[in-house]
């Protein structure tokens, strides 16, 4: 059993979990829900985007710039694999 280092990181796993449920979420929503600073969140989003696990889109609502993040298909698969691995790890450790 192996874990993807990009996904198997607390903050990035949290981001991907939120996006899996949300479909799409913007930067302020993610920052508020996850309790991260702008810089910290931005770095994790860039890491996920560079790995092809999320796509980041920028636009405007009125005059307000908005940054949105959304999981890619690869991101969904990676998240599913990560969660399956964790459940398997828990099961194995609990069996002793």
């Amino acid at each position: 059993m192996t874990f993807d280092e990009v996904v198997h990181q607390r903050a990035r796993l949290a981001i991907m979990s939120v996006l899996a449920e949300a479909g799409q979420a913007d930067f302020p929503y993610l920052r508020k829900l996850l309790g991260m600073t702008d810089g910290n969140l931005g770095r994790h989003l860039e890491t996920l985007a560079a790995a092809g696990l999320i796509v980041i889109s920028k636009g405007y609502h009125g005059n307000r710039p908005r940054t949105w993040a959304e999981l890619t298909s690869a991101g969904r698969r990676s998240l599913a694999a990560e969660l399956a691995n964790m459940r398997a790890l828990i099961a194995r450790l609990e069996q002793g």
Binding site: M1, T2, D4, L13, A14, V18, G23, Y29
Partner: protein, 209 residues
């Protein structure tokens, strides 16, 4: 494999187990919070169920009216359902802009599909034959699949099949006695069932957060 590492790090099993539990619990809490923020299951069921119930009541109160009986009634009910799908789409879009979560894409596509079904000749004929629950089921199923919402998708299939079967009088024809209200009453029941499902999901979404 690059970018991966062994799942059993240099920590005792107890610590690894605690860490894994903590991570899965964190994921569960976060997803529950997002579900509550989006109301992605409860809101569509409440709006669609409520609208469908509202348009079924006249058919029970005045079953032989031109506007409630037969194909004109079915067409008007289908139009109301398409309007409900569009309303859900707009509500989800508004939430996406205001709260920064969700997309509304699923119900946008559903509303367009419902409208297409009503305006193209073959689609209109099909919806007049199958009744308003064809539009109901198609819209809900498209939205459920687009949003990867398994409950919405399966609910759409179940209620859709029951509604279409009922509209063909395959249920009411098997009931004893004259009963012009039976078909509309069954349709109303399906609509109220949808509302009930929406209420249950509302409570579930509150609890999960």
């Amino acid at each position: 494999m690059p970018g991966t590492r062994n799942a059993l790090p240099d920590q005792p099993d107890d610590a690894a187990l605690a860490a894994a539990h903590e991570l899965t619990a964190q994921v569960s809490v976060l997803r529950g919070t997002v579900r509550r923020d989006r109301r992605a299951t409860s809101l569509p069921l409440l709006v669609l169920g409520g609208t469908t119930a509202a348009v079924m009541v006249p058919a029970i109160v005045q079953p032989t009216s031109m506007w409630t009986d037969g194909r004109i009634g079915a067409a008007l009910q289908s139009v109301a359902i398409v309007a409900a799908l569009a309303a859900i789409w707009q509500a989800e879009r508004h939430r996406a802009v205001a709260a920064g979560v969700g997309t509304g894409r699923g119900f946008g596509l559903a509303a367009v599909a419902g409208l297409v079904l009503l305006v193209i000749p073959g689609g209109l004929l099909l919806s007049l034959i199958a009744g308003p629950f064809l539009t109901f089921a198609l819209g809900l199923l498209i939205a459920g699949l687009k949003q990867r919402n398994a409950f919405i998708s399966w609910f759409a299939v179940a209620v859709g099949v029951a509604g279409i079967v009922n509209d063909r009088d395959w249920i009411s024809n098997r009931l004893p006695g004259p009963h012009p209200w039976a078909g509309p009453a069954i349709s109303l029941t399906l609509a109220l069932l949808t509302v009930a499902a929406g209420l249950l999901w509302w409570r579930r979404e509150n609890r999960a957060a």
